[in-house]
């Protein structure tokens, strides 16, 4: 462990902890949100230091892009007027015991983890890799060995979109529309690049860091940027087509899972010779629908078609 490396990690983690504290306890909400966005930024660097490029990709697309945009949009929707105080909950008067409990819990956690044996599952995964159909171990685990978890995860996200959209129409931000002439030009320039890098990540998913999650998050960031620049969901798209796009990932996954049963009667047991194509198909379907679902989550509700809509 190179001393400079140790110093880099120490400073990185220290600033992460400070930013986390600021993100929760800053005096003013906007300051808290900005601190939290920077915390997300540094977390992506921390994943890089932990040799987890897949997670760094996803955290970069989500932490630096979507979470920040979501929080800022929510701040914009929370009007700062008198009714703001209604979001208070009863104050936990004796917070000291909670603090003590929290610290005791974490120190216990730390002590236990240091003593944990370290036989990870990496041998098991490496042994099973030849039949995985993909070279990247993380994608193999995600879409082949534990495809069931990914299926449920996409179902959870669809549930989140349904829950959020059932709350009613999209709540228009209360801040005045500021003229931003340069923005549409920027988005026209960047959007093809968003699509290109989304498919680049999807293609790389097979044999390197990448895959459906970072690609979906990046696609969502591109769509959200377009929405912010004034683009609006076209009229004929908001009805059934949008809902089909939302549910496409889950349906594709289920079709593959059930279709494969015809071969050996086992749910999600890819026949080895078809595994690469099936995984690629599932990955593209999952990536695209994650992108559309995350954008739907950012919108917060059915896009209204009134003039000057949610842009």
């Amino acid at each position: 462990m190179h001393p400079v490396e140790m110093l880099f990690d120490a400073l990185l983690l220290l600033s992460m902890v400070v930013l986390a504290w600021q993100g929760v306890h800053a005096r003013n909400l906007f300051r808290a949100v900005v601190s939290f966005m920077m915390f997300g930024l540094l977390t992506a660097v921390a994943w890089v230091r932990l040799e987890a490029p897949d997670i760094a990709l996803a955290e970069a697309a989500l932490g630096a892009g979507l979470t920040g945009a979501l929080l800022l949009a929510t701040l914009g929707r929370l009007d700062q007027g008198g009714r703001a105080t209604r979001l208070r909950t009863t104050f936990m008067r004796f917070s000291l015991p909670w603090m003590a409990l929290g610290l005791a819990g974490t120190t216990l956690l730390l002590a236990v983890t240091l003593a944990l044996p370290a036989p990870g599952l990496d041998e098991a995964v490496l042994r099973a890799m030849p039949a995985a159909g993909v070279d990247s171990p993380v994608t193999a685990v995600l879409l082949n060995f534990r495809a069931w978890d990914t299926l449920l995860e996409i179902a959870v996200m669809l549930l989140a979109v349904v829950a959020l959209w059932s709350l009613g129409q999209d709540v228009l931000a209360s801040t005045p529309r500021l003229p931003a002439p340069a923005l549409p030009a920027l988005v026209r320039l960047l959007f093809p690049l968003f699509l290109l890098s989304t498919f680049y990540l999807l293609w790389r998913g097979g044999h390197g860091p990448g895959g459906a999650f970072p690609a979906g998050a990046l696609l969502a960031a591109g769509l959200v940027l377009a929405l912010l620049a004034g683009a609006r969901v076209p009229e004929r798209m908001t009805g059934a087509p949008l809902r089909c796009a939302l549910a496409a990932g889950l349906l594709a996954f289920l079709m593959v899972a059930v279709g494969v049963m015809a071969d050996r009667g086992v749910f999600f047991a890819y026949p080895p010779q078809h595994a690469p194509i099936l995984i690629a198909m599932v990955e593209i379907a999952a990536g695209l629908s994650i992108g559309v679902m995350l954008t739907a989550l950012f919108l917060g509700g059915e896009p209204t078609d009134v003039e000057g809509g949610p842009s």
Binding site: G76, L186, L218
Partner: protein, 95 residues
């Protein structure tokens, strides 16, 4: 050679930490967003230097995503946020 890259990355990280001061002190919301934008760019540079140190090519993809999303936070801030009360510095009862 890797020591040089790591030292460079450490230097940039120190820059990021110093830029935090502007987040806390910045009188207006725009100042806080500014330091956010600068941190984004510095994070891209840190990732590139870490690529130099470790040679993992995936780091360049992470830097590429950071570069594409550099505008995301600022655009959302300008188009959707800028709460009025974020401007004055006195510790007002936050919303």
């Amino acid at each position: 050679m890797t020591a040089f890259y790591l030292a460079g990355a450490l230097f940039l990280l120190a820059n990021v930490v110093v830029a935090l001061a502007r987040v806390l002190r910045g009188p207006t919301a725009a100042d806080r967003m500014l330091s956010g934008a600068l941190m984004g760019t510095t994070a891209v540079a840190v990732l590139l230097l870490l690529y130099g140190a470790t040679g993992i090519e995936a780091l360049i993809d992470v830097a590429l995503i950071f570069a594409i999303l550099a505008a995301m936070a600022v655009v959302t801030f300008v188009r959707r946020t800028w709460p009025e009360d974020a401007d004055e510095d006195r510790p007002r009862e936050e919303p």
